[in-house]
Amino acid sequence: MNNSFRSEAAVTPDSGRETSPLVVLDNLVKDYPGVRALRGASMDLRRGEVHALVGENGAGKSTLIRILSGDVLPDGGSIAIDGRPVVFAGPMDARRHGIVTIFQELMIVPELTVAENIFLGNEPASFGAFYSRREAERRAAEILRTLGAGLNIRPSQQAGSLSTAQKQLVEIARALALRAPVIVMDEPTAALSEKEATALRQLIVRLRSEGTSILYVSHRLDEVMEIANRVTVLRGGERIATLDIGAIAGTGELIGLMVGRPLAELFPPRNAKVGEVAFSVSNLTRRGVFEDISFNVRAGEVVGFAGLVGAGRTEVMRAIFGADAPDSGVIRKKGQPVDIRRPRDAIASGIAYLPEDRKDHGLVLSMSGAENVVMASLGKSCTAGIVSWKAVRRNAQDIAGPLQFRGQLDALAGTASGGNQQKLVIGKWVLTGADVLIFDEPTRGIDVGAKAEVYRLIHRLASEGAAVILVSSELSELMNVCHRIYVMSGGRILDEVSQEEFDEQRILAGAFAAHLAGKPASLMAGAA
């Protein structure tokens, strides 16, 4: 049924560059049990270009990358490098063909040194067989210097002590050590601060000018517009278009291509019916982590928490939920103090926490989507203590329908796309009937379309009278979704900003207050 779509795929003709494509992916097909992840996707990568790959979650980007990295074999279609067809026997084989992939989940061994990580599987040897530490560290230092990171990362340092951005640089160094002509990057800036992301983008541009081809996967379309030469849009496992960046009017056009329909308002209107204070926290303290946290949320209100990574926002929310014990402080619901010692107590009081890390803290990936949804309120699917599978299915479907969950509820949660996984977690808490909902970075790593749906859900919950707390590192998200924003820095609430007073500068100033003075505000992580 989608053949008509493919023939319509807009492919801008070669813009005068005579370089023949270095890598050609032709008509790739990949089936997973119950899902066809790729239905004949094609694209090509030229020498010395940055080629962006964009699409909603579930569009097939990850599958395409995994095929290109040799991690999975396609069920159909072919790959050619320099005009010669290749079949990758495994990730090492792809590397031998010059394709190095930097995955979103960084492949760093924390116990090894930086140099050992850079040369993992490619160790320089002396006397034939012995690993030469000195040689490895010398060459590692050289490569790190070309990355402009020589001063901050020592080759002999344990990789576990590095920041995420530094680990990313180590991964890139690894690709350089292999002198890979093709580097595939999967969401490389997702975990980086704005400053680090800028540095990475500069590096990418430099690598391109030195002849490296880069396949760049990102949800951040502004980045794509900035550094890519061409962009390929995937949707539903097919290529929708490959375009020169110059031929694109703006990110709006890309979004339209990605979702296949003009994107309705990304940020839906706020709930207008805000009631009494439904939830409040006074003087909550956990020594050394956060201090004297007091705030309140009204029924129907969405209250944001802005701040830098490490400001203590997640820690406060975990303490409220009973996941970690605070030293002192009072939590009140509708004016009544509630005693929360464990997550169970919080759930019993109608408080829900959607953790930042979906896969590690939010879902049991080896269970079905339906079971994850009913997990926190299994009693609702039981009769006389016996689990009714019919009820599990019915309850999960009742919840998943309005959430526009588009995966399969009876498939393992681990097979769902990022956006769908987030909907499972949201569904789980909606089903508990919670009326205080804490969302911790709910849109991290999910695509634009799914983001808009998450916002719509947040507003729907609020309009039904829930008190919603939204922790986010994306300032534009906070400013467009929340009624009120608290700004945290260094474990304290430093500012409270109401909707009329929303001001990027003011919020950033608060977020940075506990950090070095004099640092420009634009460094805030993910600030729009």
């Binding site: 269970m367 079905s368 689990v387 097979t415």
Partner: protein, 336 residues
């Protein structure tokens, strides 16, 4: 067999649509694999031994498999929480001694009750050591194996406890509708374990805790309580296994069940329970037990020396785990 091992299978896949053989194999291959192998084994042994395919021999297999089955069903609970219970063999020995003493002095009913209580108690201690003192299950139950075994030997003075009522010893050889009582008991344990795991809150929470402990905790599940319950269930099942063995030898034996830790872990792993927790079905474990029992019975009938049998069973265990990795890989859509 029914698709029982994963929660996902339980909710019928009627929405699925067309039948794809490869996808079907990827999805259910592991569940079908072992039963198919058990059937093949049966056919092979039947062809090579005229004694194998006979009712008395099948009763024989059943009786000798029953104790291992009960213990393995208990082991399943522990392994599903991503744990392990190496103390099952010692529990069998201690329960045998305690049960025989109480039975001798106070009758069969009291003896049975004491047996189950002893098993549950050791399980409780296991659970507490693991969850409160945060000792890894491997070390905790290894240590408990030594402690409980020592307890059994001191209680009995190192010798068998005799004077078990004859009516109790006869149980091992009585038939209900032609089925030996030990087999009936093992089937009862299977049924109870199946219902608990598939249809009780406790069971589903055991899967959740084993699958992702942090997510389970943040969903309000009392992780420690669930783990303690799993070890109590393991102890209880070991107690049932002990009752079966004690009846067969008609006395309390302090050295009973020494090979059960290895055999039960083998049956559980062969049966497709992931050692990382949260994955697999107790029905699979039943086939694991059948596989081990039929294999050793058949090899006996073919006069294969028992030392060689040990090597064959060890090899089968490695093979099963290796195959399992392949299936998990293809199901999760990943190669390694």
């Amino acid at each position: 067999m029914m698709g029982l091992s994963e929660s996902a299978d339980k909710i019928s896949t009627e929405s699925g649509g067309r039948f794809v053989p490869v996808a079907f194999l990827q999805r259910y291959g592991r569940e079908i694999g072992l039963p198919v192998i058990v059937v093949i084994l049966t056919i092979v042994f039947s062809a090579n031994s005229e004694v194998f395919l006979s009712l008395p021999n099948f009763r024989n297999i059943g009786v000798s498999a029953a104790a291992l089955a009960a213990v393995s069903f208990g082991q399943t609970f522990a392994v599903l929480t991503a744990g392990l219970d190496l103390s099952v063999g010692s529990i069998v020995a201690l329960v045998s001694i305690v049960g025989a003493i109480v039975m001798r002095d106070h009758g069969i009913a009291a003896g049975m009750a004491a047996s189950l209580a002893t098993g549950a108690l050791v399980g409780l201690v296991n659970g507490i050591v693991i969850t409160r003192f945060k000792v890894f299950p491997f070390i905790a139950t290894l240590a408990m194996m030594s402690i409980v075994s020592g307890l059994a030997l001191s209680l009995s003075g190192g010798v068998a406890v005799t004077g078990v009522p004859g009516a109790f010893a006869d149980l091992a050889y009585e038939l209900i509708l032609g089925v030996p009582v030990p087999v009936v008991m093992a089937l009862a344990v299977l049924l109870v374990a199946y219902v608990i795991l598939g249809y009780s809150r406790l069971g589903r929470r055991i899967y959740a805790v084993g699958g992702n402990e942090e997510a389970a905790r943040l969903s309000g599940i009392e992780v420690r309580g669930i783990k303690v319950a799993a070890y109590i269930l393991s102890g209880l099942c070991a107690a049932v296994g002990s009752v079966i063995l004690t009846a067969r030898v008609a006395s309390g034996q302090p050295s009973l069940g020494a090979t059960l830790p290895l055999e039960s872990v083998a049956a559980v792993v062969l049966g497709g329970i992931s050692l990382f927790g949260g994955r697999g079905s107790v029905v699979g474990v039943a086939f694991g037990v059948l596989f081990v029992s039929i294999l050793s019975n058949g090899l006996n009938l073919l006069n294969v020396p028992s030392y060689t049998q040990m090597m064959i069973i060890g090899g089968a265990l490695i093979l099963a785990v290796a195959l399992d990795q392949v299936f998990i890989g293809s199901r999760m859509g990943r190669k390694s």
